[in-house]
Each structure stands twice: as C-alpha cells, then as structure tokens.
C-alpha cells in the first residue's frame, strides 16, 4: 500500500489558493498549473495530487480514490457528504444568503415562496425550520436572473462581495451561514493513514497561526 496521501484539489479559484497553501508548507511543488495535466506526483511526503472539477472533489474523497481533499463548506452541505471535516482552511470565505429585490418579503402567509438556487438540499434544510411553505427551482448558474424575470421570488446562493447581486439590482435579505474552504478526509483513509493525515493537518494549522 502507498504510504503517502492522494489529495483531490478543485480546479479554479479555490484550487489556486489551495495549491498556494500546499506550496507554502513545502508540498505540491510538482504541480504545474499552466499544464493541462490532471495528476501530479510529488516526492515530498510521497504525495499524489489530482485536479478535479470542484463538484467532484467530494465524490473522489467519499469513494476513497483520494484520501483527502479541499472543498467549500457549501458543497459539503449540499452533497450531505459522509466525510471527516478535519480543518477549516480559512480561505474561500463567503456567506450562504437569501437574496432578492429590495422590499421582497420572506414570509408570504398562505402563498408559496418560490426560490431559485443551485443548492436545493441546503435551501430545503434551512426552510424546514421556518413555517413558510416553499417551492425550490433548481438552476445550474446565473441564479441572479431568476427574480428579475419572474422565475422566482428570491434566490439562495453563496455571496462573497455582493457585487453580482448589486449589478443585478438585488440585495441580501437574510444571511444564512458562513462558508469557507475545508480539508476533508475519507473515513477509512483516516484510519489507515492517520499519521500522514495528522502530519498534513498539523502543518496546515501552523501555517494558519
């Protein structure tokens, strides 16, 4: 069995910061972001890195193809991932929020509140605690458009600076919860590669302090 870890990193902005962090602890030097290669082996700590689509990080880790991974809390909540959340990495911070046109009420008495979102599970779980009945409209992108064209009353999305909302004449109506990037681990790998995973967690913790 390979002693070192296999690490799934998301492609895109979150992954770029993650790679920077790994490089800062002296790992992941073999990753060449300008290449189109998807898998990199690094002699430091006998580690293999896989660059995957952000929404697939959890699948790779849950199924044990990767031992650990870096992914946003938003994906963990939406996928109801059965993994360990070992560390908050302190970047990729944003808010899950309900947004809509200024003056839009979130309580519609007997009427159904229509919500467009990329995160149906998170939305459902959040509104379960409220008395307001809702209808969820699943979209895959450009969610801000939905209230403007009358597809929904409000949206549930992650908001970083709020500039996209502002550009579309929308405002945050209610903050739901804070989101950030997490270091996650497969539950079985955690047991078989405990020392290696702990070593990585400790290094990342030192970097943050």
């Amino acid at each position: 069995m390979k002693k070192g870890l296999t690490i799934a990193l998301p492609k895109g902005r979150l992954g770029e910061v993650a790679i920077e962090k790994f490089k800062a602890i002296g790992w992941a030097n073999s990753i060449d972001e300008s290449s189109r290669q998807l898998i990199f082996y690094d002699e430091v700590a006998d580690t293999t890195y896989m660059l995957v689509k952000p929404s697939d990080v959890i699948t790779y880790v849950e199924r044990g193809v990767a031992d650990v991974g870096v992914i946003g809390k938003d994906s963990i909540l939406e996928e109801k991932a059965n993994v360990y959340e070992l560390l908050d990495l302190g970047f990729g911070t944003c808010q899950f929020a309900i947004a809509g046109k200024n003056g839009q009420s979130l309580t519609k008495k007997d009427e159904v509140l229509k919500i467009a979102t990329k995160y149906p599970n998170v939305t459902k779980a959040y509104f379960e605690k409220k008395a307001q009945p809702i209808e969820i409209i699943k979209l895959n992108g450009s969610v801000e458009l939905a209230p403007l064209v009358g597809l929904s009353d409000v949206i549930v999305d992650i908001v970083e600076t709020g500039s996209t909302l502002k550009a579309n004449g929308l405002i945050v109506l209610e903050n739901m919860m804070a989101i950030s990037a997490k270091l996650i681990s497969n539950r079985v790998s955690y047991r078989f590669k405990y020392e290696a995973i702990q070593a990585l967690v400790k290094k990342m913790e030192v970097l943050q302090s």
Binding site: G64, K80, Y84, E85, L86, V188, Y194
Partner: protein, 315 residues
C-alpha cells in the same frame, strides 16, 4: 461486483460460500444459535429510538391498516424485538445471516447481507471480550489487513450531557463529533464557561492512538469518577487485546461515534482498506433492550458480508 468471465464469477461465489460457512462454524463452536429476524419494524418506534439516523435512508412501507413500517434498517433491533418478550433471563447466544435494507442517494433500495452475533444476559467483562475478540478473529482467520477502532459511548455522552441538557444541541454536538468538525465544535466551546468537560471536548479529536497515548494527553486534567471508570475499563480491554497480539491493529479513538444511539459502553468498528464504510460494527447495547421493554445485558456485532467477501476475493 462485475465479472469479466464466468469462471471469475464462479470463483467469487465459491469464496463467498466458504466465508459464510467459516463464519457460521466459528460461532457455532462457541455456542451461538441461528435466528431469523422479521423483515418489518414499526417506523415511529424505530426513528424515536435512533433520532440521528437519516430518515431518507430508510425503506418505508404502509400496511393495509395504515401503519407505517420500515424494512429493517438494522438487524439487531429486529432480533431483540423478537426474542426479548420470550427471554427468561438466562444467557443467550445468537447469530444471524440476514439482510438489511437501505435507500441509497440514487433512491435505489440496497440490500446488505449481514452476519452478526448477539450475546444476551451476561454483563461481565469476559462477555465483552468474547464478542470483541470474535470480531478480531473474523479478520485474522481470513488473513486480511484491517484496523479495529475502539471507544466507549459513555465517554462522549457523559461529556455532552455535562455541557448541555438541550437535546437538539446534544444531537448537533454529536454530529460535529461524528464529522470530526473541530472548527464548529471549538467555535461553540469558545462561548462556554470553563470546565473539565470543556477542556476534554476541546481536545477530543486528539484522544486517539493507544490508551497510554490518551492517558498522557489527559494527564493535566482531573477527570470525574465516571470518566475515570471508562478509562480504566478501556485500559483493561486494551491489555486483553495486547495479550492476543492484536494491539498493532487497534486504534482507540475517543471521538468515535455510531449512527445508532442505542450503544452504552464499549463500541468498535472494523475497517478494511477496500471498503468505503466500516465493515464491522458492534458494542454493548443494553438501552436498546430497555426501550423494547426489558432491560438486559446485551453485546454484539454485525458484519457487512459483501465488503468482506470483496476484500478476500481481490486479495
């Protein structure tokens, strides 16, 4: 499993059959008797007993009379319901080869063939050790690589109850611990007044390894009597494991959780590298018998056969 050739498929079934026979022969030798539990359980009773088990993973059915039933998500509960009313306080050793049902994330019903043993009516340390070591024996006999994880459910329960009496919050805290979510737990702990329990919880995820490692990590704290008792019992079990030569395959993890809330006392999970979930789960579960009407000492384990057979077949 998918097979490229018929020959491969036949070898797989032969392997499976051999493993089933071996498991049965082993426990029969020790006086365990076969039982076949019922398929259906009352939905409300089951979910009240296991509040943290995800409801969407249960296969529900409605009887002619309108009663909501669940296709047994757990064999132990089904067996206990069947035997407790007739149980006469004597020692009883049972084993089963049964199926449990689960709705997966694609809304398909998964059938999981389980093998397990239940040991009733004996509250001694020896009974705990017999069942636990039988669990180790499964892996040892098959000569496969494994890790056994050990804890005691009373450890987390005692700590959490000392922090809050709010049941919802207790459930949330258990979920944080189950996901080893140090960040969420610490954020909450930061707002709590100082106490020994808070100190222990703030290092709960570091309380792993051998009992000596754990005791060293707790050496600066004055543990309450119930907590000390748990540590002493765990130490004694560990030394028995050491005697058998299994210590290097053992990992005590005091932050370990079970999806089932009915454990009270030792809990253990066996992991194989090729499987995504623990293949063996067990522990002492006297509260389950109490909830079903008659409290009695009970300990057992259950084994997911598919994962075990796959590991043996592949190796």
């Amino acid at each position: 499993m998918t097979f490229l050739t018929l020959e491969e498929e036949l070898i797989y079934f032969e392997t499976k059959q051999k493993i089933h026979e071996q498991l049965e022969a082993e426990v029969k030798k020790k006086g365990y008797m076969l039982i076949e539990p019922s398929f259906f359980q009352d939905y409300d009773t089951f979910t009240t007993m296991n509040p943290r088990l995800k409801k969407e993973t249960m296969v529900k059915m409605i009887s002619q009379e309108g009663q909501v039933l669940v296709l047994r998500p757990d064999v132990t509960t089904a067996i206990m319901k069947q035997v407790l009313s007739k149980w006469d306080q004597h020692e009883l050793k049972l084993y089963y080869l049964s199926t449990r049902f689960k709705m997966n994330s694609l809304n398909q019903i998964e059938e999981q063939k389980q093998f397990g043993i239940e040991y009733l009516g004996n509250e001694s340390k020896e009974a705990v050790e017999e069942v636990l070591l039988q669990g180790y024996q499964v892996f040892e006999n098959l000569k496969i690589r494994y890790v056994m994880e050990l804890s005691d459910s009373r450890w987390i329960n005692t700590l959490i109850k000392a922090m809050t009496s709010d049941l919802d919050l207790q459930k949330t805290m258990k979920n944080w611990i189950d996901y080893k979510d140090r960040y969420a737990l610490e954020k909450w702990l930061d707002q709590q007044p100082s106490s020994v329990e808070k100190d222990i919880l703030s290092r709960i995820f570091d309380l792993q390894g051998t009992m000596n490692d754990i005791i060293r990590k707790l050496s600066d704290l004055k543990l309450s009597e119930p907590l000390m008792k748990i540590i002493d019992e765990m130490k004694s079990i560990e030394s028995r494991i050491h005697q058998e030569g299994y210590l290097n395959k053992t990992f005590v993890d005091l932050s370990m959780m079970s999806a089932f809330d009915y454990y009270e006392g030792i809990m253990f999970k066996g992991y194989l590298q090729s499987s995504m979930q623990p293949v063996l789960r067990g522990g002492r579960y006297d509260p389950l018998t109490e909830q079903l009407g008659k409290r009695c000492p009970a300990i057992g384990f259950t084994l997911t056969l598919k994962d075990l057979v796959k590991e043996v077949f592949q190796s």
